[in-house]
């Protein structure tokens, strides 16, 4: 936004020309009140402490796509691990040392004939216990509704144009399972060690809206 002319109103903008974020001084919603009431009751009755709740929030915030990237990188270099991952991705991730709780995970392998992409049309199910919180667009109505109707168009908007002969498999997380895509390993990365490979694996490539790429 240009700052060297003043023929328009700057009302609602910061001195550098950016909109202020609305302050959260509106009334609490019904569900926000219910969450606070439940949390306070659990603490008051001694079932949980505030510190325990905060520790769980921190644990979730500390999970990131880097965890999934390590799983994918190992699958690229270790065929036995890949077989175990495709058989039971939850168990294989736990065996690597990731605390993913009771999550049921299915790994979906991309090949030169099949491309997998994950969506949750009913809400926003996502393998949070491995990859951390989902990106905002994953929860949008546009992504959730369009991905099952026109996945190729959606993927092209992410910059991913798939060959006509490649089959697209859309996975709708409708119930108890969560999904991670195992993207195909780029040829340029052949021969690298597991740790170096993990840097190639992007969050989007594990959702299926992108491909792995050389770290910047």
């Amino acid at each position: 936004m240009p700052h060297d002319h003043h023929d328009h109103s700057h009302e609602g903008l910061s001195p550098s020309g950016h909109p202020y974020r609305a302050d959260n001084d509106t009334d609490l919603s019904y569900w926000q009140v219910m969450e606070i009431a439940l949390r306070e009751l659990l603490i008051e009755k001694g079932h949980l402490s505030a510190a325990q709740i905060h520790a769980q929030i921190n644990a979730m915030d500390s999970r990131s796509p880097a965890n999934g990237a390590r799983v994918v990188a190992r699958a690229w270099v270790d065929p036995e691990f890949k077989a175990a991952l495709l058989a039971d991705a939850g168990e294989a991730s736990r065996a690597m040392g990731f605390d993913i709780g009771p999550m049921h995970l299915i790994a979906l392998e991309n090949t030169d004939k099949v491309h997998n992409v994950v969506v949750c049309t009913l809400c926003s199910c996502y393998p949070r216990n491995l990859l951390g919180l989902p990106p905002d667009w994953y929860k949008s109505r546009a992504y959730r509704s369009r991905t099952v109707i026109e996945p190729r168009k959606v993927l092209s908007e992410f910059g991913l144009n798939l060959p006509e002969q490649m089959q697209v498999r859309v996975h709708d997380s409708t119930a108890d399972m969560r999904y991670i895509v195992i993207p195909a390993q780029p040829e340029d990365s052949f021969g690298l060690c597991e740790e170096a490979l993990a840097a190639w694996v992007t969050r989007d490539s594990m959702i299926g809206v992108g491909l792995p790429s050389a770290p910047q």
Binding site: T121, V170, S173, T174
Partner: protein
């Protein structure tokens, strides 16, 4: 094995997507027994239900409007929503 998703429209917490009801697909894998969200959403102790992954061709869901009929959608459907074709 070919199955059809029942075309039922009951009220409540249903995790069978509307766009798949009445559609025919192929069982991709059977996952095991899980609590039925139609019961547990209301704190009812109903029986556990088998959860099944079903693969549908885009052409069988969207007809001529499909981007590419040979592409597929896979979804988890509770077995009591499925009927043999």
């Amino acid at each position: 094995m070919k199955v059809r998703v029942k075309s039922h429209w009951p009220p409540g917490h249903i995790r069978t997507p509307a766009y798949l009801r009445g559609k025919i697909g192929q069982i991709e894998r059977r996952i095991g027994l899980f609590n039925n969200p139609e019961d547990s959403a209301y704190r009812q102790d109903g029986p556990q239900r088998e959860l099944v992954r079903v693969r549908f061709h885009m052409a069988d869901i969207w007809g001529a409007r499909a981007e590419r009929g040979e592409d597929v959608i896979e979804a988890e459907i509770y077995a009591h929503w499925l009927e043999p074709v």
